[in-house]
Amino acid sequence: MVFKNNSLNLFFAFLGGLFLLFLVAPLLNLMLAASPAKLFETASDPVVSKSIGLSLMMAAVATFFSAMLAVPFAWLMARSKFRLKHLVSGLIDLPMMIPHSAAGIALLGVVNRESAFGKLASGFGIDFIDQPAGIAVAMAFVSVPYLFNASYNAFANVPLRTEHAALNLGASPAKVFFKISLPLAWKGVLNGLIMMFARGMSEFGAVIIIAYNPFTTPVLIFDRFNAFGLKNAQGISALFILISLVVFIGLRLITKPSEDVRN
């Protein structure tokens, strides 16, 4: 049934307009405040370009290593039935739910130089505090649930029958995963990778606790704002939003959101 121009629809459309305005107005204001010349000038600032490079690089590192752990586990979870499955799912969602600064504090407790893990990593020459590795760990911690959930849904959408057919045709379980399950779930997994990357590169709360320096762009925006005020932080914010937009549009072009079949 199609309702046209009834008063309820008009009212809801008005509410929707306000809602969209709320989302778009601050961003639009920011973009208008930053002229192309200013954007170019900001991009040429070596501190800014270095921070952008670091943010993108560490988000990529975090996404890559997380994928190694989370994607196969998402497949295993999608194919398993056990009593505490909902509990495990809830645990994986936890980093999305808690304040990211609190997540950073929690992480700091584990990776600081005095902790057992910190000492062990130090033994291998890996330090986290105020180091790129710490940035990557903080980004991964708060953004990996996006990758896990998208991958889980994608694998759950691959019919079990299809995997059975591949096994039956003589493919080993590893071949079935790499030749059948992963390619069939690839769109969803890719969606998760891009979401995790986008979320990771924008992370502020957890990153600033583990590594104030070297600056990632979100931390640099905060630093510039603190030290020089709104005007100074606007250019770099606008530039970073533009980069985020490119990533986001890329995501939307490549994939469609997959349905949540977890429950």
């Binding site: 059975h164 591949a166 039956n168 045709l169």
Partner: protein, 351 residues
């Protein structure tokens, strides 16, 4: 030869087995049962998608339960073909050969041969999503054969197809079986069992309650359940002959000619005669019915409704009559009766 010994699988609320079953090399064994009877589960146990709780399965002497599912060498064809949507038809057919690390030149040759056999040459570059149901099922048969299986498991491969396509796929199954491929085929469709099986089994609540040659199982159902599932008992494998100048045809069995009407172009098949449409009388009389025979009553059995009377008119025919007719005609074993039925009581199933 496939030998299943005391195979069991327990779930909460459903116990499968113990199942004992032997399928001879080259036979087309049809396991007939309603949904939920455990027939698909049996295939999954054989293929290794489910773990058996107890029992043994031997294929040509090797214990299948000790082999991983991908090493069992048994192909399975599903009701809805589980084609790999991200691969082309040719890549689907090549999949089992690539899994077995066969040389690419050999893979190309076999793919083309199979494509020709199943008339899917023109589809090789297409994606499965663009195929019709019949095309997809042909691809899935070709893909199953590409692994050169020791036997093939068929899980209702015809039931999601319309009537015309069923005939086509059925012919492929018959020709594969003629080439010596052993088949275990599960279905709920009695007519499929009639048309295709060389051996038939009936499964109910996870247990095979009767097994043997179709004519034995269907004509002598061991339980009421088998009788109900087996449907019509008057069925005969026939060759049709045309009657000159008439649209009717005749089916000759043991020198007995049964007239029927069919528009099927096929000469070989089965005829089914509905027990309820057969009239018994003490002597032959003139009527519009074109099938009239005389014979002796072999047995008669009380049924939940009415009675089943077996008459030997040169072939054994079963008729269903009421208690009242039984007593009015004073039906006795050995009694001479006339058997009458119309053309319309005879249905032809082509192969």
């Amino acid at each position: 030869m496939l030998e299943i010994k005391k195979l069991q699988k327990s779930f909460s609320g459903f116990n499968f087995g113990p199942v004992n079953l032997t399928i001879d090399h080259g036979s087309h064994y049809i396991l007939l049962g309603p949904s939920g009877s455990g027939k698909s589960l049996l295939l999954e146990l054989i293929a290794g998608f489910q773990k058996a709780s107890a029992g043994e399965i031997y294929l040509n002497g090797s214990n299948l339960l000790q082999l991983a599912p991908h090493k069992r060498g048994i192909a399975m064809v599903f009701q809805r073909p589980a084609l790999f949507q991200h691969l082309s038809v040719a890549q689907n057919i090549a999949f089992p050969m690539r899994a077995a690390n066969i040389r690419e030149s050999e893979i190309r040759k076999t793919t083309l041969e199979l494509a020709e056999r199943f008339s899917i040459e023109s589809l090789l570059k297409r994606r499965p999503a663009s195929l019709s149901g019949g095309e997809a099922q042909r691809v899935s048969l070709a893909r199953a054969l590409a692994m050169k299986p020791s036997m093939i498991l068929l899980d209702e491969p015809l039931s999601s197809l319309d009537v015309q396509l069923r005939t086509q796929i059925r012919r492929y199954l018959i020709s594969l079986n003629k080439d010596g491929l052993t088949m275990l085929h599960v279905t709920h469709d009695y007519e499929e069992a009639l048309r295709l099986s060389s051996q038939v089994g009936i499964i109910q609540n996870g247990t095979i309650i009767q097994s043997g040659k179709p004519e034995v199982v269907f004509r002598n159902p061991a339980t009421a359940f088998v009788a109900e599932l087996a449907g019509i008992r008057n069925y005969f494998k026939v060759r049709l002959e045309n009657l000159p100048g008439q649209s009717n045809k005749i089916a000759v069995i043991n020198g007995i000619a049964i007239k029927l009407y069919t528009d099927s172009l096929s000469a070989e098949g089965f005829i089914l005669i509905n027990e309820d449409q057969i009239i018994l009388s003490t002597e032959l009389y003139q009527s519009s019915a074109q099938n009239n025979f005389t014979g002796k009553i072999v047995t008669y059995t009380k049924k939940p409704v009415g009675n089943e009377v077996e008459i030997d008119v040169g072939i054994r025919i079963f008729a269903h009559i009421s208690d009242e007719s039984l007593s009015r005609m004073a039906i006795k074993t050995g009694m001479q009766v006339a058997v009458t039925f119309k053309l319309a009581a005879v249905r032809f199933l082509d192969l």
